[in-house]
């Protein structure tokens, strides 16, 4: 038995692969749900109706997709240069930390823009550590970005149990509520906030950057063929650092938006794995920046539906991780069989 490259690759099958993979994952997760004693059809019906059945559900879809769009970008941009940013979670926490610090100490009409800028800087700084270690010493960025997540999460936990714990929080590990000038405006009596629009704007800016600028071109060359980049005189190390900085900044903004748009205070568990979800989101979008919106919305749906399952059946939100990993595994497996065939 051996493996042979197919002469003709079916374009239809290749393009429908993501959809088939999503379907296969739904079936697989359904079997698992059935296994833990939940009727999968009923569960999927609840997920759909809670998301698309009301104004509130639909608004939540956008609310949950917003951090996912940003963390998806935070992973996808370094990925274009061939780098793995597994640290979006920590970068998000660092952005949330500095945004809260500004909100609680420097209330002013300029608080929101200052929070955005500083969150981006702190997220980028957190990504700079693994980036510079990769550029200077070839330190594996997968391990270093991941380990820094734990440092950032413990840092925020330390703050809300210690120096930043609020005065009126009845001993909960929370900071005080932000003053109104430091919270993002909301629309339509829902949790839809200004950050949702900003996230879409950032996608558009990144799309233009990678479509129209020479920087975007250089990144693509480094990612596709590092040797060719060297011949073309592109400084690979610079690209490593810059793409990671952009990724970190976007993840930092995600943290600021969650804090200022949703929670209105600093607390320990800001993110149910949004940073990690950025990885499958980016892989599903295949690095295509506009496609990130679609794949983040799919995952946003899973989070909204997932929390509906959590309240209905008390199934942990971890079920979303199973779906995320299966979609990607089905895609990479499926792609193989599109491109190759097994002959006897």
């Amino acid at each position: 038995m051996r493996i042979e490259r197919r002469e003709e690759i079916s374009k239809i099958v290749l393009y429908s692969l993501p959809f088939l993979s999503i379907l296969a994952s739904l079936i697989f997760v359904g079997i698992l749900l059935w296994f833990v004693g939940v009727n999968p059809i009923e569960a999927y019906y609840i997920m759909l109706i809670r998301t698309f059945g009301s104004k509130l559900g639909l608004s939540e879809l956008f609310v949950k997709s917003t951090p996912l769009i940003l963390t998806g970008l935070a992973v996808a941009i370094p990925m274009r240069a061939g780098l793995w940013n597994i640290g979006a979670e920590g970068q998000l926490y660092m952005g949330a930390f500095i945004a809260s610090f500004v909100a609680l100490n420097f209330a002013s009409p300029f608080a929101i823009p200052i929070m955005f800028v500083l969150a981006a800087i702190f997220g980028a700084a957190w990504a700079f550590i693994p980036a510079i270690l990769k550029a200077k010493f070839e330190l594996n960025e997968i391990i270093s970005t991941l380990l820094l997540n734990y440092v950032a999460i413990y840092w925020v936990e330390y703050l809300v149990y210690g120096p930043m714990r609020g005065k009126n929080v009845y001993n909960f590990p929370y900071s005080d509520l932000f003053p109104e000038c430091a919270t993002l405006p909301r629309f339509f009596d829902t949790r839809l906030h200004l950050g949702v629009i900003i996230a879409f704007l950032i996608v558009f800016i990144m799309y233009l950057t990678f479509r129209k600028t020479s920087f975007g071109f250089s990144v693509n060359v480094v990612g596709a063929n590092p040797r060719a980049a060297e011949y073309a005189g592109i400084d690979r190390k610079k690209i490593i650092v810059y793409t990671m900085l952009i990724g970190g900044a976007i993840a930092g903004i995600a943290g600021m938006e969650e804090i200022s748009g949703i929670h209105h205070r600093l607390r320990a568990a800001i993110s149910p794995g949004y940073g990690y979800a950025g990885i499958p989101i980016s892989l599903l979008a295949k690095g295509n920046i506009l496609a990130i919106i679609l794949s983040a919305m799919l995952f946003g749906f899973l989070y909204v539906g997932g929390s509906a399952l959590q309240t209905t059946y008390s199934i942990p939100i971890a079920v979303v991780y199973i779906f995320q990993s299966l979609v990607v595994l089905f895609i990479i497996g499926g792609e193989f069989f599109v491109r190759y065939r097994v002959v006897r």
């Binding site: 597994i86 997968i142 595994l329």
Partner: protein, 307 residues
């Protein structure tokens, strides 16, 4: 003071043992040329399955075996993608982390807060009554002792047997190994599965002997620390023992310091192992003599002839 150091060292070994199993498991996997980034996912599945099976059967040793097999099954998925299909090992490894965290969270939900039967320490007669060393080394549980035997065994297999030579060949130069009649894919599968089993046992140790409970996400990044420990130990089994105990020590330092009234906040002490891991990795990269020890074909799929 001596009492403090003795109890710190004793606890370091216990905290280091899950790391040692997982580090050894990843090491033999990498020796054959396969990079399994899913250690965290394998460990958490091991921890959950181990706890669940000990709870159901009442026998913690069945739990340990179940943990091993849970690791082995996830490793097999990685093998299917990275060895049989020869697709990107990074992607499939990372997805195993998510899969392990998700599955263990879903299936393990009903075991949160439950009490199972655990692995208890055994004091070795005579040796355990030695001053100082007796308490540190000889009042541990069987899995601590067996982890040291396994370390020696892996060293022996790698360096004293022809199968060990095949493993090293598959990891260093699969083309040459193939020419010499070694079935590269088979050798890699064996190492990956055995390695996955050991990683799963490490996870089961965590829930059944170290923490003695199951909670969602309880591995808390230990799998990633183990990936770094493989690099730190330069792919040498004996050195993994030192690395694992060192990091076990950093892990328990926070409780131990608190117990004697040291007032540094708990969360700041919890950061130490993660920062230390990065520093240690950095040191081992700066020193050239370590850098050369990575298997040359690590993470590269091997295509036999033209595909």
């Amino acid at each position: 003071m001596i009492e403090f150091i003795v109890s710190l060292l004793q606890a370091s070994i216990r905290a280091g043992t899950p790391l040692l199993y997982a580090t050894l498991g990843e090491m033999i996997t990498e020796k054959s040329g396969i990079l399994n980034l899913g250690v965290e996912g394998l460990m958490i599945m091991g921890a959950m399955s181990g706890f669940a099976l000990s709870f159901i059967t009442g026998n913690p040793w069945i739990g340990i075996l179940a943990g091993g097999f849970a690791g082995l099954i996830l490793a097999f998925i990685h093998g299917f993608f990275s060895i049989t299909l020869k697709v990107d090992q990074t992607v499939s490894g990372l997805m195993l982390v998510l899969l392990g965290l998700g599955l263990s969270g879903l299936i393990g939900k009903s075991y949160i807060g439950m009490v199972a039967n655990y692995i208890d320490p055994i004091a070795i007669p005579l040796l355990s009554s030695l001053p100082i060393l007796g308490k540190i080394l000889f009042t541990q549980d069987l899995l601590v002792y067996s982890s040291l035997l396994i370390t020696v065994f892996i060293w022996f297999i790698l360096h004293k047997t022809s199968f060990g030579l095949s493993i090293i060949a598959a990891g260093e130069n699969p083309e040459a190994a193939d020419t010499a009649g070694i079935n590269v894919d088979l050798v890699r599968y064996i190492c990956l599965l055995v390695g996955g089993f050991l990683i799963g046992v490490g996870g089961a140790y965590l829930s059944l002997a170290y923490a003695k409970l199951w909670t969602e996400g309880m591995t808390a990044g230990r799998g990633w620390i183990c990936l770094a420990l493989v690099i730190f130990s330069g792919w040498i089994p004996q050195r993994a023992v030192i690395g694992a105990y060192l990091f076990g020590g950093l892990d328990v330092l926070s409780f131990k310091l608190q117990a004697i009234g040291f007032t540094v906040p708990y969360q700041l002490l919890k950061m130490i192992p993660y920062i230390a891991t990065i520093l240690v990795l950095l040191l081992s990269l700066i020193k050239d003599k370590y850098r050369l020890k990575a298997p040359s074909a690590l993470g590269k799929p091997y295509f036999r002839g033209e595909r």
